[in-house]
Symmetry: C2
């Protein structure tokens, strides 16, 4: 056993995997910070209102209701995001789990929303007609989708969408990532680590494009009952 090669492989898997986890966590923490910052400001408005009251004015119920409504909205947004991050954190523990691919991808794309919006691109997921249950490493599968989207993101036509479509073909689950490109596909990275992850979960990919569209397709075997 060549220990240098092993060390390199370990590092490759370790750091790339953590890069994914780090990118998602960092993005979510930025958004949570915005939410908490907004609540902080609303709390400041409340204090201003309190000051007005002590000077003899009467705060109307409407003013208070307006502030509390805005706080409710922010906390709801925060709790949804925190719940999604928590789901993501728990995904990692399973080496080969059976799971609904739509639920997992829906959660991932929601967590990636901000990363896409920074590039003025929207992520759209189509719910499949039937439930698709796969049995694989959920974290690696999500990392593949994350990497594939991140790879095409810089070449996606601005202010368009990246569509993720889930379907069933014979005994495979098929994940298609499709977007209009801006003509700079030569800038696409080699994707060597992406390929090694795909082979790690025994998946198959096909990449294709024409003058307008770029298309990435990943097939993952569905377990027999």
């Amino acid at each position: 056993m060549n220990s240098d090669i092993n060390k390199k492989l370990q590092e490759q898997f370790l750091y790339q995997g953590l890069g994914f986890c780090g990118a998602i966590t960092a993005s979510v923490t930025h958004e949570l910070n915005n939410i908490l910052g907004t609540i902080d400001q609303l709390s400041g408005l409340l204090e201003d209102l309190a000051l007005t009251l002590t000077q003899g004015d009467v705060a109307t119920g409407n003013q208070l209701t307006a502030i509390s409504d805005r706080i409710f909205k922010q906390t709801a947004r925060g709790m949804t995001l925190v719940k999604r991050l928590n789901t993501f954190a728990h995904f990692r523990d399973d080496v080969a789990a059976k799971f609904d691919i739509y639920d997992a991808v829906e959660n991932l794309l929601a967590l990636m929303k901000r990363l896409a919006l920074l590039k003025k691109v929207e992520l759209i997921l189509t719910k499949p007609a039937e439930e698709i249950i796969v049995k694989t490493n959920p974290f690696s599968l999500l990392e593949i989708i994350f990497l594939a989207i991140n790879r095409i993101l810089p070449c996606t036509k601005k202010e368009t969408v990246i569509e993720v479509v889930l379907s069933k073909q014979n005994s495979d689950a098929v994940i298609t990532i499709k977007s209009m490109h801006d003509g700079t596909l030569t800038r696409l990275s080699d994707g060597g680590y992406l390929r090694s992850l795909i082979s790690h979960i025994s998946g198959n990919t096909k990449e294709s494009f024409d003058d307008v569209y770029y298309n990435f397709e990943l097939k993952v075997p569905i377990p027999e009952r």
Copy 2:
């Protein structure tokens, strides 16, 4: 190159690493959820207050100030936690970084606080007399400390502390983890993955105990200027 062995190694490093990341993230999301839940309740109090107002009562400035103060406290707590999680997320990107070991460990222990409190144990870090800069993989070093603390946590005497002490000895940074044990040290796990991580960062460890105390010592070389 034996591909089965490689696959096993990859999985070991991949899942154990993500287990650390997942455990920290999951713990923090629970705490953030508590914070947002408290803000939500305070917002409910605000709405009650608004209702009282519309029924002809006058809210005093004091009541409003009390609620906004409590919201301020929760948002401040949340923002500190989010900042710490963000720092943690960014740590992972560096393969071999130069960093202040106190800052990194202080951040980790703050994120682990809840995990220790669940076992009725407090984590205490002593600031070293002088700055200690190491050059290593920060994520692996933090994971080692996380694993070493998690390993002793079930055997630590209830309602006592785990002390983490940082010091310099010749050309090494020394991290000591010390606690009173409850007499069940035979339950300590083998720590095979912990050892492989330690050798991964070229560290050295010594473990010792007597009737009262358990002691774990990790030495990491300090780079020459």
